[in-house]
């Protein structure tokens, strides 16, 4: 939950797929939030618009790849707690 909050507070990126299978627990008991493939940058002004016809994505593949690296490599090396 900490990782999720950090990502959102710093970059306005929402994970959007928080589930049992996407939270790993290290041997030390720390949680790692993985699989940011569905993550998306929240566009503040268009936030509350219905999305039936338009699905606005901002740089999704670049961002999710970036976060995969951040979340899958950094926490393991530095032991960050994510839950």
């Amino acid at each position: 939950m900490t990782a999720h909050a950090d990502a959102y507070n710093r970059t306005r990126i929402l994970h959007r797929d928080v589930s049992e299978g996407n939270i790993l627990i290290t041997e030390e008991g720390a949680g790692i939030l993985i699989d940011w493939d569905l993550s998306k940058k929240v566009i503040e002004d268009a936030d509350r618009e219905p999305r039936r016809h338009s699905r606005t994505v901002s740089g999704r593949s670049y961002i999710s790849r970036g976060f995969r690296v951040l979340t899958e490599l950094l926490p393991r090396e530095h032991g960050n707690s994510c839950l």
């Binding site: 939950m1 507070n9 929402l14 049992e20 790993l24 999305r51």
Partner: protein, 193 residues
């Protein structure tokens, strides 16, 4: 997945509150599945809460969320069941998270409703200040993070809390795609559900 997204994924964009709610569902799932050392029969409730979905409507849309509405209302996986499953502060965290989600979804129904009932529900939600207060609370992660902070500060022993899985493994439809190979036996870093 949040109740709001299961009921109608197109009504609005995905919000922080949806992800925060997902953390609640993860916690409830882990507890009812892995902390059931008293052998309660919770499988029907689990199916209802986590898997319920409607029949497709005329346009082919399928809704979910009815079971989760029952859970945030305290009807499924009531406080009595949760406190029987987990005595640690985990139980308190679940109930605190649930109370915010309870208010967020006040008066809501998952069944297909005729227009006059829909407008009655909308009116009730508009006039009930608890709904807006809950929405405000879930604009950021602060409230939920504070709940964990407070309860983890009580010296909750997470070293070995004796998890077990009492549900018989079922055939995984994905298994055939992976050649039926049992997962996570040697990788050591996968949390298997």
């Amino acid at each position: 997945m949040s109740i709001a997204r299961l009921l109608d994924p197109y009504s609005r964009a995905h919000e922080v509150s949806d992800d925060l709610e997902s953390f609640f569902w993860v916690l409830v799932y882990e507890v009812v599945r892995y902390k059931n050392d008293k052998g309660m029969n919770l499988e029907d409730s689990m199916k209802h809460v986590f898997d319920w979905h409607s029949e497709p409507d005329k346009a082919g849309f399928v809704k979910g969320g009815d079971g989760k509405l029952d859970c945030v209302a305290g009807i499924k996986f009531s406080a009595s069941i949760i406190e029987t499953l987990v005595e640690t502060p985990c139980c308190a965290i679940i109930e605190e998270m649930r109370s915010v989600l309870h208010d967020l979804y006040l008066h809501m129904e998952a069944v297909d409703l005729i227009a006059c009932v829909q407008s009655r529900i909308a009116e009730k939600r508009k006039n009930d200040p608890r709904v807006e207060q809950a929405r405000e609370k879930l604009q950021t992660s602060d409230i939920f993070l504070a709940m964990f902070e407070r309860h983890l500060g009580t010296g909750w022993d997470i070293a070995d809390d004796g998890n077990l899985d009492v549900i018989e493994p079922q055939a995984d439809p994905l298994a055939s795609r992976n050649g039926g190979k049992p997962k996570a036996d040697d990788s050591g870093d996968e949390e298997e559900n």
